[in-house]
Symmetry: C2
Subunit: 329 residues, 2 copies
């Protein structure tokens, strides 16, 4: 294992310390590294709270700030944050209008966010993201996994909350965006969890894991590495088939790197995926390309297609100022 | 070699096609993939033109747009753009106020930009970046290499050009910023050039290349991988020593990933480097952490310290809207 770290037990807290120092203008770190919260809370705004196992940066701490999340709870690497962490963050950021939890569909996350919600005294609602079309009921999940599409839900709900939308409407919006979003990923290498010290799974020098999860969970199958166009075709076909009829729809196309795949390859995949969706009648009106929902040092990428109506488009375009996503301010 | 590509000969052009499509709102691709230019040129503004071998994305094409470059010429991977490419881009973006070339100090780049400058008819000036303190006279370079500090020069000169600064003053400003900027990097793995199909250099499972160049050029020495704090200490010491007295200075601290190093590790290195510079009396007033000047799929990072006066600070903060760097708009 080759990582920039001092010891595996301290990698998360030392990284969070650096992160909080680098972005001290927009966020602050809670005690005992329990959460990252937006520096300037807006009284009367519904608070958006997310979190999950660490190792997916910039998700979620990198999306704390104006126009997106009010707080994020970082669990240990690939481990859910505790109910205690989540509750403390919820209390911290609730300014009276309630808290919307945005939770990726993993059993640990679902359980711990639910326990925190039960202990909370104020109004609280939850959006569960499950955009991964690759598999049902995998290693850590009942149903579908929540992956890169979570960013889209956090951005759009974040902008709506900023614009003054109430808790119930935000939950409905978040559910709608999640329902209009599909993703699938491919790994070329495994990630390595610092505490484990060795790759999560073995993969041959000419193999890929098709439909991989963001913790290295198995996908649909192991296959020989194929040309980018063939990989893109299979991903786009799986997403299009799952949507049903997408012809004539407007969409955000998001190609996401898993951590160790450089921009040159991501843009090549973006170009391939865009042509394939356009050939199916989709109008790609917004784009995002980069490593936003990662899996530590895994080489690979995912493709997300999110169908956007006028309202979602307006919220996607709204100003955002976080460590990981920034425009309009 | 595991990359998302169709064939090694087409990886660059297919990636550029995807890039230009994803960012069609701000830039356009020149014929034969010779350059990427800003979509809306501003008549009367000095044009900023950079470029170099591909494989360092988002540098340089990702820095084309408002407040930074007017055009970038992508050479083949790790290969200088041709004089013909550079000349064509210069003619395309010169709206009458002249062209400032920003060139990283590699022999091929220096020669080809110089040949283009000789053939150009309008006023033209050049800033040569050479911020890498690791070594003198390495594989492709006489003197010091131009590395991640080039981003700082492009950002600050770009904002100054946007504000109406003339060609001569821009050259002086670029030279000043370059002179106030120092970098050094460490590789944990080699990069793999697509056309070569195998790693550029061999490195053991417990080794690092200290002072590596962004094409995998040898650094100061091969060493056993050490804890992050020890690596940061040696880099910061080399940079501080090269500067001479930095106590009391205000600086931008930029921790740059080489392509395959995830955010968690970069932020840990940022935290370590910041403490070390602060202990030497530096006041870190601006920060940048991410993979901006890469070396294909190399795991590793560099640290850049750039001393900023009030004017440089103002230009660093000025709005920028490019694919790779964006704020204030």
């Amino acid at each position: 294992m080759k990582k920039f770290m001092n010891d595996a037990g301290a990698i998360l807290t030392q990284s969070l310390d650096g992160f909080a120092t680098a972005h001290a203008d927009i966020l602050t770190l809670g005690g005992d590294h329990k959460f990252i919260r937006r520096k300037a809370l807006r009284p009367g705004k519904v608070a958006l709270l997310s979190g999950g196992g660490s190792g997916h940066e910039p998700l979620h701490a990198g999306f704390v700030g104006h126009g997106m999340l009010d707080a994020a709870c970082p669990g240990q690497v690939f481990t859910s944050p505790t109910p205690d962490q989540i509750l403390e963050a919820a209390v911290e950021v609730d300014t009276g209008a309630g808290v919307l939890l945005i939770v990726k569909n993993y059993e640990g996350d679902v359980m711990n966010f639910e326990m925190a919600a039960e202990m909370a005294s104020g109004p609280i609602a939850r959006v569960l993201t499950n955009d991964d079309v690759a598999v049902e009921n995998s290693t850590y999940t009942t149903g579908r996994r929540g992956v890169a599409g979570t960013l889209v839900v956090e951005k759009i709900a974040g902008a709506a909350a900023e614009a003054g939308m109430g808790l119930e409407a935000l939950k409905a919006l978040g559910d709608t965006v999640n329902g209009a979003t599909r993703s699938m990923g491919v790994a070329l290498t495994s990630c390595t969890v610092p505490a484990a010290g060795k790759p999560t799974f073995d993969i041959g020098p000419d193999e890929m894991e098709f439909g991989v999860g963001i913790h290295g969970e198995p996908g649909r199958r192991r296959d020989r590495l194929r040309p980018a166009d063939a990989i893109a075709e299979e991903i786009c076909e799986a997403i299009a088939k799952d949507f049903g009829d997408i012809s004539g729809k407007r969409a955000l196309l998001f190609v996401n790197g898993f951590g160790a795949t450089p921009a040159m390859e991501l843009y090549l995949m973006y170009g391939a995926a865009r042509k394939l969706f356009e050939s199916r009648g989709v109008s790609v009106v917004r784009s995002l390309v980069g490593s936003y929902v990662t899996s530590l040092d895994m080489a690979g990428c995912s493709v997300t297609l999110s169908l956007l109506d006028d309202q979602a488009l307006k919220y996607w375009d709204a100003p955002v100022h976080t460590a990981g996503l920034r425009w309009g301010m």
